[in-house]
Subunit: 332 residues, 2 copies
Amino acid sequence: MKLKAIGITVALAVAGSAWAATVRDEPIQPLEAAKVTNPGKVELGKKLFFDPRLSRSGFISCNSCHNLSMGGSDNLKTSIGHNWQEGPINSPTVLNSSLAVAQFWDGRAATLKEQAGGPIANPGEMAFTHDLAIDVLQSIPGYVAEFKSVFGSSRVDIDKVTSAIAAFEETLVTPNSAFDAWLKGDDKALNTRELAGYKLFKDSGCVACHNGPAVGGTSFQKMGVVEPYKTASTAEGRAGVTGKDEDRFNFKVPTLRNVELTYPYFHDGAAQTLEEAVEIMGRLQLGRKYSQEEVGDIVAFLKTLTGDQPTFTMPMLPPSSNTTPKPRPFEK
Amino acid sequence: MKLKAIGITVALAVAGSAWAATVRDEPIQPLEAAKVTNPGKVELGKKLFFDPRLSRSGFISCNSCHNLSMGGSDNLKTSIGHNWQEGPINSPTVLNSSLAVAQFWDGRAATLKEQAGGPIANPGEMAFTHDLAIDVLQSIPGYVAEFKSVFGSSRVDIDKVTSAIAAFEETLVTPNSAFDAWLKGDDKALNTRELAGYKLFKDSGCVACHNGPAVGGTSFQKMGVVEPYKTASTAEGRAGVTGKDEDRFNFKVPTLRNVELTYPYFHDGAAQTLEEAVEIMGRLQLGRKYSQEEVGDIVAFLKTLTGDQPTFTMPMLPPSSNTTPKPRPFEK
């Protein structure tokens, strides 16, 4: 720690880009803001992300379950889909999802682009088809012009749609949390309790899975290592993708970035509070029974992972034309 | 018109505030941007407008049916409420609603503030109660601090909630349409067809009801004056408020501002296109059968009523606390 402190003093003196050189050597790395290379594509993707016309009902958009006003989640145990269907799993946050090894709790989509097509066509979610969604978009002059401008062709297809949505999602990174400031050398960014919480989080083994810039998202792990996890959820996890029995109840380790905002917790949304989640994780994954004070310390640390939320102007969606297929919310 | 043209020339010469003095003498007046006197209250109201925790499910916010990315409407025939219930009436746009004589199609709320409490407690819409909504907000530290800052007291009540929502809604005015530019003297703001459409709109009597800055919203009128209106809707209109038989099928005249964005049309949302709406209105209200070209002219004029849409940063909602009552989307 002494050496680090010296490093920081130097960085303070030279400031600017030299700062990065003094990042503390920890299992968690600071988040950096996304670099936007194609702003037109991001803007188109943002519109699509907010557009409920990508659903059969005309009512559900990506933002319905990944609400960017609420930490990129819906804060529900499991989500509400077309015709008020109860979803089988908790909606993971879209924030920092570009840093994950794969998408969905079971990792069945390799990329954000691949993921984006899923809910549109899922009968329990947006309940549309890719073809029908494309028919809708192709009938909207404002969209056609934007696709032409971004992709050089006014032919809308699902590949372009999901590529634009993914480009927008890649911008949804949340840098500048208190913990990042601490990682970058600001000793005052965390208070004593938060630091104690981080030390305990690290020393008791949470970082074995919750590591990297996203504090998770880099591996699949069994839910219930030391003790089995009791749940009403029928989700099988990674086994549904690999077909391997040893992957049963293996789920993608969720990011803990902004975890203060993404309640309730776990793939089944069964843990309502951070305290509950920490207590259960300690017991089931590490065989450790944290005291109430220890739980409070770790929760205090976890709340330092809330970063700058994406700030942007609410998008205006181009209006439908007379030929746009009509939404069918109540048709059986 | 000669005198007006002279007035305009003068205005062009002196510019600036003198411009307003030369507004054309028409049954429609230009919209002026809302003046924000209490930005903190507007900001709080914006958050509440976007917050689905004001609904029983935690899924439906004011913005769900009055979507500010889509002309302040949901672009559905009738809206989707709690548990996917089919609403009885088309959601009117929230844009420029502060200019209306009363709120809801039947005018049962005198003010925006009074209106704002309606959907929260309507079992077919957000399906909550005012008391439960207040319990939720009172449990959220970020909201409590904002209520304290805006109202001088950290006690949240429905009066403050609806007052803040109304303050936000009062800002949702859409000035600077092409038609406003023309009203203010810019002869080039409308093309020949748009001008012909406006002339026809005026001369054939549409302005009897669609007048004023909002091009409507100032009176209740019978739907089906010359010919009865055939509809599957059971909405009775103003009679439900006054109890008078002569008020049956009297509805508030909708604003035509941004009408290009607020499809489908009429209280039952039965007219899918502007062309259809104009044709039916001419026939039923005025006993006039417009030719296809005349309909096209009027539609061209109507599209000049699209103004600047409200532009604002997507709000970040303060997170729930451990004591916040949980949303109950699927509980019967």
